[in-house]
Structure formats: C-alpha cells, structure tokens
Symmetry: C3
Subunit: 338 residues, 3 copies
C-alpha cells in the first residue's frame, strides 16, 4: 500500500506533448498528455468499455479515441462519442487526476480530491530558478520505492557504490547526525579535510583536501533534497566552492518498481561544458545505484516481505523516515487524511 | 473452466502427418499425428510412466515411443511395449480423444465420449466446397478465448484496428441488430452507400460507394461464421459483387491463450493472384487483432478476473454469446451434458 | 524440503579462489571463496544489514566487504568493521557453513553443526586416485534433484536418450536387479554379448559383441556411483577391457533446480587424447539429459506436485531410493538427526 494523499511527480514537464504516454503510478496505469492549449492531462489508462489501454489509441484534437472500439474521451474524462450511438452510457467516464506543473516537473494527485492543495508540493525551486543551473533525469528501477529512499538517506554507500564518481572513504567514515522535525527528517554529515572525489577534481580542479558537507532533507512519502557543499581547506574564495542540490522525487510504480525523477542544480559555472559534465556524471552515479537496488530487491523477494535487518548508526535517517511513512499510512487507513 | 462436450478444431488437416505435434487444448497437452493409413490420432501428451511429453519421442510405425524410457503406445493409447518387461502394467494406457476430419480441419472431442456426435460439428462447409475458394490460417493469441469471440461479434472495431485493410468509419457508425435463436446468436449490420475499404478497392476495383452488409452467426463455445456481402450502389451485376465468408473456429489453449483457426472462402475470382491477395490481406487483418487482444488481456490480468465493463449497443451480440456459454457451462457442471 | 544433515558438493575444488562466487544450495544463496592461505569459506550470501548479496562485494584480504554499505565480514562470518562506527551491532554475524575439500570437490554441511562428521562424506576416491584418470564437469539443471537421481538409477534411458554416445537397445532390454542394504540401494544390470555403443567403439576399437555390466550404488540424499565394465566376448585380455566409474554428486539448488557434479574416472589409457575423448563424450552424454529432465519438470509443474506415475520394473531402484529419502526426511522432521 502506498500513501495516496500526496503529490507525486508523474513526468518531466518536457516529456508531455501531443503523444499519449502510459506511466504506472501507485500500481495504476495512467495516461498522460498535453492539450493543444498546453494543459497537462492525466486519466486512468483503461477504457471503461472493454479495458483496452487508452494510451494505445489516437489523439482526435484534445480527445483520446480508444484504439479498439473508437469511444472518445475529452480531457475531463467524459465519454463524448460512442460509434453508432447517440449518447454515452452511464458510468463511461474515465477517472482523471489533478496535475500541477511546477519546478519543471508534472505533479499528480491520486488521493482524495478534496485534500488536493498545491501548497503541499514540496519545495524543489532550485530546479527552476535563474540563478541555478540544473541537469535532470528519470530512471525506472525494479525495487520498492523505500529502498531508493533508504539509499539516498544514507550516503555512506557513495564510498562503495560510487567510487568512480562522487564517493570515497571519507563519506563512509564520517558519522552522521539525524533529527526529526514533525514529518521532516534531516541528516547531516560533515567531512572536514577529506580528499576530493574524482568528479569534484574534474569540476573544480581541486588538488588538495576539501571541507565537504551533506545536508539531507526527507519529506514523505519520499521527497529527498540533498544540499552538498565543498571548498578547499583554508579557502574562503566563493569561486572555488562547489555547491549543488540533489533533488529526488520518488514515485512508486508498483510494489517492486519505482520512478526516480532527479535533478542536480548547481549555483556555479553555467557554461554548457560544465552542464555536460554534471549531466554525464549524475547519470553515471545514479545509474550505479540501479543494479544495487535491483539486486537488493531480488534478495528481499527471495527472503519474503520483512527480512530481519540489523541496523547500524548510519541507518538512523532511513529508519526515522520509514516510521513517519508508517504513521501516515495508518492515519490514511483510519481516514484521517492529511 | 471451458465447455468440454463440444467439438473444437485441433489442427488444420494438412498439418497432420508423420510428425508428432504437441498442441495445448482446454488446458491440456495433446499429441497429434496421422497413421500411415492416414487416420488422425490424438492422445494426452504425457507418458503415464514418468510424465515426459510423448511428443518428444519417436514414431515406430504407427506407434509412439517415449523419448525417455522407450515405452510404446499404439494409436488407441494402449501401452504395447515396455523395455525388459513382458507386459504393460495396469493403468499404463494413455487417454485418447476422438478426432473427425471435416471442412479441411481436424475436430477434437475432449468431453464425455458417450455424447460425441459428428453431427454436432458446426457447418463450415464453405471451406471445402468446389464453388468456393478458401484461404486459411492459424494464430496463437495470448488471450482468453472469449476476448476473441467478443472481437468477432462486434466488427465495429474494424474502423479502428483494421483501417488499412477492411475497416472504415462506416462499419462503426452503422448500428447492428442482434437476436438469439436457441443457442445461436445472429448479428447483422447494413452499411448502405458507404465508401469501399482499401482491400475491397484492390479486389474489385470499386471506385464509388457500395452497399455492404455483415451477418455474423455465433454457435457455442465459439464458432463464428461471418457472411460478408458488398456491391456497387445501383449495380445488379453479380460479376461486380464481392461475397466471402469468414470462418472462425476458436479453441482455448489455456485460460490466457487461444488458437484461432480461420478460413476465408469466396465465391468469385478463383485466380491464384486473387487467392494470394486474399491470403495476404486476411493474414494482415487477423494479425492486426493479435496485439490488441494481448494488450487487452494484459490489462484484464492486472485488474483481476472481472473488470467492471461498461456496455454499449454494439456489444449486444457478445453479451448474448457469453450468456449462452455461461448457461451451458452451468448445465455441464450439473452433469446435464448436451 | 531437503535433507539437511548431509554433505553436499558445493563446488569443484578448482573453482574456489580469490573470486567471490554465489551458489544456490538447498534453496539458500551461499557465498564461496578461498582465503589467501587456501582455506575454503562458505557463508550465507546475504548481508544481515540490508540484504544485499555479499558476493557482489569485494575481497579485502580474507574479509568480504559488502558492496553496498561497506560492512566487513571475516571468514568466520563475524562482522569486523562497520563504517563510522566502533563496534559491530548485535546479530550482525553471518551464518557460515563447514566445508571439507575431498575427492577434488568441496563438500558443504548445511545442517546441525553438532552432527557434522567428515567420515560421512561418501566414498568418491576414484576422482582423486593416482591409478585412475578422471574427467569432470558441473551442470545446472532446471529440475527437482530427485528427477536426476531417478535418471541415474535407471540407465535403460541410455537406449533412447543417449543413442549417439553410450546407449543402445541392449541397455534397455536386459533386466535389472536391485536391492536395499540399509540406506544403500544397489542396482545391477548384466548385458552379455551385446553390441558396443558408439563411444566404446571409438575408445577401445571394439568390432564385435561385448559383455557389459552396470553396478549402480545410491546413497542418500543423492550420491550415485556407477561401476561400468565391458570386455569383448571371449577375451580375458585386461588391455582390451573398458572400466570406468561414473560419480554423481547431486545438490539441490532450489525446488526446481539442481547442481549435477559429475566425474568419470577410468583405470586405462592415461593418454591426453583419450582423456579428451572421455571429457567430450561425457559432456555430450550428460548434456543429452538436461533437455529431457527440464521438459519432464515442466510437465510435472503443469500437472501439480504428485502426478500419478505408473511404475515399471526398471524403476525399482529409483523407488527404493525415494523411500529411503522419505524415511530420513521424516526422521529429520522429528528431530532424530542422523
């Protein structure tokens, strides 16, 4: 079961256009497209007539025509044409979902409509701010979404999974501090006087030790913002600092598959060559996690739903995040909403 | 569960020869071959000794020798040789099934032997009649057999699935009439003064509007005969008419896989070039349905056994057919037979 | 369920080195490697922290470092390092298994440690004896392990499955005698004055009839030693005799997958060319069984757990072996151990 009364990223804003896209979200197939006026549309990707996926059909203006028997649906989900028949039968409307375009992503609300409130969309403004230069991507990972949240809440794995990009021993060997503020989890790690990882040397020409820090913020269900800061030991020159934010919008596809929408905006070096390095480096680093998460999921699948995990100190943030989700899920089940 | 006390097509007559063929029918593996005297044989494709498929074995004259331990079975299913052993043990006979070769197909009876009656084989004589010129084919479709029956009982889908061959808007926009006569369902659609679809233009050189009609007959479990007739508006010239029959023998393989044996006999233009056009055109049209049916089955599999379908008028025939099958299945369960 | 208080072959001795190997045994993932001092190590291939397979990690000297979060385990399974943390948490040890290197194989004990006794390793000394010349191999077969034991306890299948290598009609048509001595099953077949099979002709230049015999010994759970002897009819010349032993150590991987570790030591013709012929011939013969066993398993999977098998005389040994395993399994369940 997933938390429903939350905004999830359904797509990158630039993905949506005239094409009909199918995307699984919270274990449901969703049809996504954009009207000719530019409005984003999401509806259940199942024709109510005979269960054929609407995404296999055709755009007729802003309508979707089912590819099997030709029923047509408008962007509100109303069935507006049935071949050889004057009016649509009762119950033929398709469920639609509210979408909001924000921070260069399209957010979907699949819960109780009465609770939908745009102000609940988590702050990811760095992805759409003129003084920040983002790179972005989307991965489909065959694991439960909380395995990806665990991964991002304990960056000590960088020392083992991301040796070639952003990790080195310093990340693992410096302890973290974590705390809970309401539904927010904050995890911080200071790494004073540590060697610069390979990607940082490439980006900033670091040739000596750096002071590095991570500040990770988790908001349920699984929005994770990582503030990363580095500067050469002893330097106060802002032109030598390396600061970026790692935005992670995690959307469950099914119980064992997850969408990872990520963005990495930086506040330095707007040059396209540096953007290229950031894009390639981020794709490579996030790509390194995919195999790890899928191997972990496969083993958990073998062991059954609740393997007996032994915890270490670095898990504190992940454990706190899971407790918050468990509490909120219990509240949703009781009908407490949000 | 499938209706058992019915004849199903197991194979095209020309498929059966000296080769051992495995074919799944009503969720059972069946071994098919033809004796040296030309008689068709069907038996359960499971060696009673250690469950090895007999179809993996060898023909020894008219016998089948198991490819694992060499037990031999004659065409009656009797075990007639066990290596290093004088006589066959009790219970070593394999179940055989009655086969009848008719209308260029081989029909199998997998129900109660006492009820097998060749006169119950549905009329598909057009497939083996000197005044008709058939083309034929066999598809294996990963869907429940009733999805294919639904498909053939509502040809309005031609306008959407078969745009490039036999469909156009006229098929969908003209209403159907359907009626039930005992276990027979008849669906009729008149399409006066409609444009000729691409394949018809090619076959008959039509350059103006035509009067077109479909008459569909369903007999349980899923034998569907479609009479298709067209002629130019205002013409009485039989040489310009286009008449063919679409024969559909639908055999469940498993709960989610189906054999579609089809034939399309016509009563005009016996020339091989036209036969070639009919063969290619039919293969293309039936092939267009495969992806649609498999996508529909996949979505139904996700939704569970009984998705809440909304019905439209064009579904009348399919709904009537399903009701007949449900009633007959209830009768079989009560032991009422046929 | 599998018998646990028995030695199973986990690997060929030569497979184990610095590399981390994952092997499924008795439905558990096992990590195998060899320390720098040459000792073989086996432990559960699941990091107790977050269930990542340890075999995906890295060797740090004789330790294994988890590839996800860097926990380190020594060859006793103890967790000896947790990044950014002084001591390992309780419960962080990984289960290890006793290994014994014997007869060029590595044997694993996955049952009750108190019952592990090296003297219970079955005699397969021919595989590591200076007067015998072995060839060896390992197959992974997608079938229950008892289907492979059945296969080896009834060699009449050689006449059908191994026509091109070691089988001919004589193997099937001469009856077997079998007897039980405690937990041992012995199956014997005499084949006087029979034609030499293709591989034998190639190995020994036989051009007339031979006297051939098989003596098969089964010890639970599934260790099978086959003594094969042949000589030309009327000859007493030991230089014309053909004698080899077929060693079969059968290790369940999962309920439907099996490791077949085989060795074929001979006591004649040590020349490398003959070793090459024996290696190729054995690989080909054992390879011929793989498809048969997998097709049999697939059919059994369709029929359900206990298909109603009809027995023939040649099955006597296999049936006796299964009875012994059933009795021992019942004893293990009652806690009787071994």
């Amino acid at each position: 079961m997933f938390l429903r009364n939350y905004w999830y990223v359904a797509a990158a804003a630039e993905e949506l256009g005239s094409r009909l896209i199918q995307r699984w979200i919270l274990n449901e197939p969703v049809l996504l497209y954009r009207t000719s006026a530019g409005r984003c549309v999401a509806m259940q990707d199942i024709c109510p007539h005979r269960s054929y996926p609407l995404s296999k059909g055709t755009r007729i203006g802003d309508r979707v025509e089912c590819g099997y028997h030709g029923l047509q649906f408008d962007p509100t989900g109303a069935c507006v044409h049935v071949p050889a028949q004057g009016s649509a039968p009762r119950g033929s409307a398709v469920r639609t979902y509210r979408l909001v375009e924000k921070w260069r992503w399209v957010w979907i609300w699949m819960g109780d409509d009465a609770l939908a409130d745009e102000r609940l969309i988590p702050d990811m403004h760095w992805n759409d701010d003129p003084s920040w230069y983002p790179v972005n991507g989307h991965l489909y990972i065959k694991c439960h979404y909380q395995l990806l949240a665990d991964n991002l809440l304990d960056l000590s794995h960088e020392a083992f999974v991301h040796k070639s990009t952003i990790g080195n021993a310093a990340v693992a060997e410096n302890p973290v501090e974590s705390r809970v503020e309401g539904d927010l989890v904050v995890v911080e790690r200071l790494m004073p006087g540590c060697p610069a990882p390979p990607l940082y040397q490439k980006l900033r020409g670091y040739d000596g030790p750096i002071n590095r820090s991570h500040r990770i913020e988790f908001r349920p269900p699984a929005n994770i913002v990582i503030h990363s800061k580095s500067e050469p030991v002893g330097s106060n020159d802002p032109a030598r600092a390396l600061r970026y934010v790692v935005l992670n919008a995690i959307t469950p596809a099914t119980e064992t598959a997850t969408h990872h929408f990520w963005g990495v905006p930086r506040d330095f070096a707007p040059e396209p060559e540096i953007t290229e390095i950031m894009q390639k480096g981020s794709e490579r680093a996030f790509g390194e996690d995919v195999g790890v998460l899928e191997d972990q999921q496969a083993m958990i699948g073998h062991l059954g739903a609740d393997p007996p995990w032994v915890n270490i100190r670095a898990d504190a943030g992940g454990i706190q995040a899971r407790r918050i989700v468990d509490r909120l899920a219990a509240e949703e089940r009781r009908g407490g909403g949000r």
